[in-house]
């Protein structure tokens, strides 16, 4: 039996996060969300519900958007993780980030990282989605402040 355990409860994980390689010892029970926020210190991904119903913890694993509260840190061994912190580059903001600012698509901003990562997951594969497709794709992200109107407009603005 192959095992990644180096001790009864911690797992040796090698993963790439926003293009940077990380080697970690992660408790077997620790979520990817806590691994990012507590172990590595990337607090841009947010905790909202811890049961996969609000999307505030959205990150991508190998290009697919997931709720990181329902993934274990151990499960990203050998995988590529992207978080909100990786969205802008030294050259500037991602068009989605710029659009969110211009369209005032955030009020309190706590859901914003989740929405940006989720929306990028859509536009990376479908550059010109319809309003209905945008709403369907983002239905796993809750916002309580905006009523979604300006978020949808921002995604439309950022799409080609």
């Amino acid at each position: 039996m192959t095992t990644n355990s180096t001790s009864p409860s911690k797992v040796h994980v090698t993963t790439t996060i926003n293009g940077q390689k990380h080697e970690l010892l992660v408790p077997g029970y620790m979520s990817l969300l806590d691994t990012l926020r507590e172990l590595i210190g990337l607090t841009g991904t947010k905790e909202g519900c811890l049961d996969g119903n609000c999307g505030a913890c959205t990150v991508t694993i190998d290009g697919r958007i997931v709720d990181s509260c329902l993934v274990l840190g151990a499960e990203v061994n050998g995988k590529n993780v992207e978080t909100i912190e990786g969205m802008a580059t030294p050259e500037g903001l991602h068009p989605l980030q710029q659009a969110f600012l211009e369209e005032a698509a955030l009020q309190c901003g706590i859901c914003t990282p989740g929405f940006l990562v989720a929306a990028k997951g859509l536009l990376d594969n479908e550059p010109s989605p319809s309003e209905g497709r945008i709403r369907h794709w983002l239905a796993g992200n809750l916002c309580r402040c905006t009523g979604y109107d300006k978020i949808v407009r921002a995604v439309q603005k950022a799409s080609s």
Binding site: M1, T2, T3, N4, S5, P8, S9, V11, P27, G28, Y29, S31, L50, D51, G52, N53, G55, T58, I61, R64, I65, V66, D67, C69, L70, V71, L72, A74, E75, A118, G121, H136, W137, A139, G140, N141
Partner: protein
């Protein structure tokens, strides 16, 4: 939450050995979208989670002339993004597309949905009406159980201690067949089904008469229900409003819902009748091509 160890075997035999060793204090981990929620809520106290996603047989997805084979850990998105499966098994696509939202569908799969055995499992009715079979591995070898017989109660299945779902085998649908699944939810996404109905129909060559039909219901009993009498009532009948309405009424009779925070008995019964009618019509449309 009881702190658990994480292990990721690479063979079925290793996984079975681990599950045997820990009994009900270990669970297989596929998508994690039910397991982690239950562990956090202390519904289960676990010493170990056994990640099955490095076991090739459990992650395989294939469709060919014999049918469709879905590994227990295959995620919903892999199924609905497969063009071949979308054409041949539209009823299964319907179920996969509405479990949770996009983030959940990146991880959750039909294997987990089946093993979680919620009466409301959106993936299960379609598997039932397609006549799917669950392939199970255990210390004593492998066995097969019809999906329709797999769930025995809320959160209870035929799996014994140390047994592991390996794959779900779906036979090739007949010619002139179609299938569809839908559910009623209060919002437009992200809800547990108040009532769900899956239908499979086989029509004759003219497309005007039913040869056979199967109807399965979610959220209206302790397990998903195969409404046998309702499905059988369509055999040999013409495709018209009368026969469809009669089948829908029989489906309603087969439902034994409770009243809870998601819906009332009366509401659920009405929904079963309405959704059965709609899904028969949609399955017929798909059968006619």
């Amino acid at each position: 939450m009881h702190p658990f160890a994480y292990v990721d075997p690479s063979t079925v035999a290793e996984a079975v050995a681990l599950l045997n060793e820990h009994g009900d204090r270990a669970r297989p981990l596929a998508g994690g979208t039910d397991l982690l929620v239950k562990a956090r809520a202390n519904v289960w106290e676990l010493d170990a989670v056994v990640d099955i996603k490095n076991i090739p047989e459990l992650m395989a997805l294939s469709v060919n002339g014999d049918g469709l084979s879905i590994g227990a850990g295959v995620a919903c998105y892999e199924i609905y993004e497969n063009a071949e499966i979308a054409v041949q098994y539209p009823g299964i696509i319907d179920g996969c597309s509405i479990i949770g939202g996009i983030q959940i569908q990146s991880r959750a799969g039909l294997g987990g949905n089946l093993c979680n055995a919620a009466p409301s499992g959106d993936g299960i009715p379609s598997l039932m009406v397609y006549g799917a079979v669950a392939k199970i591995a255990g210390a004593n070898g492998t066995r097969a159980v019809a999906v329709s017989d797999f769930c025995t109660g809320p959160s209870r299945t035929v799996l014994e201690t140390g047994e592991l779902l390996v794959s779900i085998e779906v036979p090739k649908p007949a010619a002139n067949s179609g299938a569809a699944y839908t559910r009623f939810i209060p919002r437009n996404e992200m809800d547990i089904a108040v009532a769900g109905v899956g239908v499979y129909v086989e029509l004759d060559g003219s497309g005007q008469n039913f040869v056979s039909a199967k109807i399965a219901l979610a959220s209206v009993g302790p397990t998903p229900i195969l409404a046998t009498e309702a499905g059988d009532s369509l055999a040999g009948k013409p495709v018209n409003n009368e026969s469809i309405a009669a089948a829908a009424a029989l489906a309603k009779d087969a439902a034994s819902p409770i009243t809870d925070m998601r819906g009332t008995i009366a509401q659920r019964k009405q929904l079963v009748e309405v959704l059965t009618g709609r899904m028969i019509n949609q399955a017929v449309e798909r059968a006619r091509g």
